[in-house]
Structure formats: C-alpha cells, structure tokens
Amino acid sequence: MTAATIESPVMGRPGLTDTVRQTLSMAWRQMVRIKHNPFELVDLSLSPVMFLLLFVYVFGGQMAGSTADYLQYVLGGLIAQNAIFLTMYTGTGINADLRKGVYDRFRSLPIARSAPLAGKIFADLFKQVWSIAIMLGLGLLMGFELRSWAGALLATLALVVFALAISWVSVLMGVVADSEEKVQIYAFVIIMPLTFTSSAFVDINTMPGFMQAWAKVNPVTHLADAMRGLLSSGPIAEPLLWTFAWAVGIFAVTAPLAMRAYRRKMV
C-alpha cells in the first residue's frame, strides 16, 4: 500500500547516505551564516590573539627564561586550549536554535534526527581550522620555529578529529541547558580548570604530586603535547595516540547522551 502522489512521495526512516547528505546541507546553512556575518570570524580571532601575545610577552621571560623559548613551548598548548574553548560555541548555537523554534521545523521534516546537531558540529570545524591558522600565523610572525609544514598539517587534522569528538560535550550542554548563558557558565567552569591543570602552559613536573597525577591523565595534556610535538619539538606518537583514545572515549559516552537528551526534548 502506498499513499504516494507526485507531490510528496512517502519516505521511511532516512538511511546513512541520506543522513550524511542532510548533515552536509545543515553545515551549508552554517557556512552561509558565516558568509553573511564574517565578523564572527574576527570575533573568534580576538581571544586567541590576545592570549598568545599576553602569555608570551608577559609570562614568557619568567616561565622559560626568554620569550622565544616560551613561544616554542606554549603555542601548542594555546592552540589546544583555544580549540576546546571554541567547541563551546557549538553548544550555545544549538541552544539558541532550539529555543527559537528552528529545530521544530527540522523535526517536522523527513530528515535524520542527528542531522541538525551533526551539521552544526561539522560546520564549526571550519572555525577550528581558521583559528589554528590565525594562531600559527601570528606565532610565525613572533618568531616561532615550525618543525615542519607536514607537522602543521597533521596537527590541524588531529585537532579537527579531537574537536569533532569533544563538541558532543558542548552539544549535550546546549541541549540540556535552558539558556545560552548557562551553557557558557557550565563550559567555563569545566574548560578553565581543565586546560590550566594540564601541560598546556607549564611543565607538569613543577606541579605538586597530586596535581601531576591528574595532569598526566588530563586529555588536554595529551592534546597539548601532541600539538607541541607536531609543531615544535618533543614526542609525537604517544601523545597523539592518547589524544585519539580520549577522543573516541568522549565521543562514545557523550554523543549518545546528547542524542538521547535531544529526543527527550520532544515531549
């Protein structure tokens, strides 16, 4: 039995290729938004630029004896920190769309449930690439010695994969929280201590024992070490492996939770 007419053919649950295509359409919408509001990218660049200048020229001498040495150390850490902060905007964006009723329209369309959320995450990866380019560019102007361009490429790739996974934490908060401000507060309270208790800015061997124990397992440490290894100097394989392990773990836990919370929203 088919109730189909020429106008709107009856469709069942969307398959995987449909889901991918719909996710890309959702991402397209986000890219068009950036096209209409390019200042968003300038806004995004302000805080990484400020952090990089402040950390290197204020703390640099004290931290590493010279600003040049500290720049070699901290750039990877700042890139890692910024990437994690950026994912917060994924959650605030989803929260705003949910409250404005944009998702009501999406939910009434014959498209995959995950497409709006995945599309937003996907589009935000562009912002990640943009930010790493800005920070690396400024770093080079400040005298950063890049290990190799292949390393820079690999670092970008690794960052994108990690961001893809931890964005789901932000999505979860965006779906659950009742306002954008709350998403920002939650994110700040989690991200700030998380990034500071890692190897992003300082050598963890200078920390007291209990803090070292935590900093050694902190995913930000692994991400920062991987960035440092690929861009500047130090081991690459081990921190990269740990970074991916964390990414897979975080994704496996938070993506289903976020999807479940999203479905629950449809009371």
Binding site: V10, S25, D104, V267
Partner: protein, 327 residues
C-alpha cells in the same frame, strides 16, 4: 491513493505532570478540506499540532495523518506534512531565497531544483523583490509568508498552520488567507489553529472548538454560528436605572436568547440584523435612551460564553502555552 480522512485522532491526550493539556480529543479532517481548531490561548491547540506533526508524543490515544500512525510511522508522516508554527522556523541571517533553498537541499533536491523551487515559491508568495535580503529585514507579514513558503518546499499533502496570523495586521492577515485558499484549491488538506472566530469562519470547512484541552463543540461554521449567533448586539442605556426595563424588553423580543448583562449593558447573540430597526422603535416608544447600540461580529469570547458559560480566561496563568509551562 489518499485516505478519505487526512487527519484522524481518537482519544488523543497529552499530560504534562498534573496538567492535562490535550484531553481525549477526537477529530477528523477530510482530505482536501480545512479543519479549523478554535480556542483561546492555553487551550492546548499548539500541543495538539505538535503531536500530529510528530514533534511530541501523545500520552494516550492515537492519531493518524495521511493514514499513518503519528508514533509508529512518524518518518512517513513527516514526508507528507508541512508545519508552520507560532515561532518562525526561519534563519534570520539567511536571505529568503537561501532559507527556501536550504530546505529544498535538506529534502534531497538537486541544487538546481532547490533553486528553482525557491524562486517559484518566492514568486507565489510575493517575496521576489526581497528574495536576496536577509530575513531579519522582513516585516512581520513577510516573515509569516516566508515561513509558510518554507513549509511548502516539499509540496506537502497535509499542512499544519499553528496560529498563522496571530500578531499580523488586517491586510497581512487577508493576504495570508488568500494564500491558504489557493493551497486548498490545489488539493492540500489544512489543519489551522486560531484564536479568531472570523479566521475559522473565513477558511474552515469544519470547526472544532477546544477549551482546556477538551473539544466543546464541532460543526461547520454555519452550524456553529446558528448555535451561538453569528453577531452580537450590545445595548447600553444612558441611565443605569433603565437597565431593568431594557432587560424586560429584550426578554419579550428575544424569548429564546439568554442575554449577558455586564457593566451596565446587555449583550445578545443574533443571526438576523433585520431586528435592529424594530428594536430601535421599541426603545424609543419606551423612552429608553442609549449610549451604545451596536452590532458586531461575535468574538471568540462570546462563543465561549455561550458554549461554556464562562469567558475565555485571559489571566496570566493561561497565557502561557502548556508546553512552555512544563519546560
């Protein structure tokens, strides 16, 4: 082949905690007609539409849209329907054309077809001139038209319009009505919720009146109007002391009608405006001078008073939609 009834519900119920937002609602919309769901704010109209459009699940009861169960066959239902909600589901940063093209792409149209469909709808909805302007620059009426256009990209057979004209000025309202009439002429089934009796009267083939989540009356606009009086006559004597003699006169002339006495005036529902001259002559003969003597269209408020014996409760508690309150 479409089923005879595009929309059918049986005992459709939605509870939010202790609040019964939609209570055992049975309704049917015949294929190709407009079903008007009339009720005040907080009556449960939006909650009902959300269930039928598969945005939320019923607590009890069943619903079928286009012959498909709204819970078990939600994906099939979604492929048949269009929804225009109270809150515009459009992206303000995108242009009108981009908004429509985006929906087309989501629905799997090739880019070329999505563009063509967007242009076609913009033309049909008189938005061609604003096609390349950001939607945030649109007026209220233009936004609603764009929102309606967005729900039509996939050429749905069944359309849900949740208070499509609330907040619009009369001209924009009239324009939207024309668009809805055009869609129905092309064979679309429409379920329309509204707070305005006039809107239901203008567009609907069949009206369901709901209050506190319950159906309190159903019928064609003509049937409902004859039950409640399509028009309202308000008579206010200059001297408050003459209210009783006015009341006696009204009782004589309209023995079947229960008048509403309120704020020093008498209001009655009437179907025939020919009563005015005779009544005016009677009033003059009895020496009752008036400050107000006018015939108006019955408002939803008067419909409710007639059907339920209470006015629509416009107090703050009832203003919020139940699902808002439940959040």
């Amino acid at each position: 082949m479409s089923p005879d009834n595009a929309i059918e519900t049986e005992g459709l119920t939605k509870r939010f905690g202790d609040l019964v937002a939609v209570d055992q609602v049975d309704l049917t919309a015949r294929t190709g007609t407009v079903l008007g769901v009339l009720g005040p704010n907080g009556a449960g109209k939006t909650t009902m539409v959300r269930m039928l459009a598969t945005l939320s699940q019923p607590t009890a009861g069943t619903g079928r849209v286009g012959g498909y169960d709204i819970v078990r066959n939600a994906p099939e239902v979604r492929s048949l329907i269009g929804l225009t909600g109270q809150f515009a589901g459009i992206d303000e940063l995108l242009t009108g054309e981009e908004n429509l093209r985006f929906i087309g792409r989501l629905l799997g149209m090739p880019t070329k077809d999505a563009k063509a469909r967007a242009r076609e709808l913009l033309g049909q909805f008189d938005l061609s001139d604003a096609a390349d302007k950001a939607a945030k620059a649109y007026s209220g009426g233009m936004r609603r038209r764009l929102d309606l256009a967005a729900s039509l990209v996939g050429r749905p057979q069944i359309l849900f319009l949740d208070e499509p004209t609330t907040g619009l000025d009369p001209r924009a309202r009239g324009e939207l009505w024309e668009l809805v009439r055009g869609l129905v002429a092309d064979g679309t089934t429409v379920l329309l919720t509204t707070q305005y009796l006039e809107e239901a009267d203008q567009l609907a083939h069949e009206i369901v009146v709901i209050d506190h989540g319950k159906v309190i009356a159903t019928g064609t606009p003509t049937q409902l109007k004859s039950k409640i009086g399509g028009q309202t006559l308000r008579i206010q004597p200059e001297d408050h002391g003459q209210l009783d003699s006015l009341r006696a006169l009204v009782a004589e002339r309209f023995p079947d009608i229960e008048p509403i006495v309120e704020a020093g005036a008498i209001t009655i529902g009437v179907n025939d405006d020919g009563v005015m001259p005779a009544l005016a002559a009677d009033l003059r003969d009895r020496g009752i001078t008036l400050t107000d003597f006018h015939l108006g269209l019955s408002s939803l408020d008067e419909v409710f008073l007639t059907l339920t014996g209470h006015r629509t409760e416009a107090d703050a508690d009832d203003e919020t939609q139940p699902e808002e309150a439940a959040k």
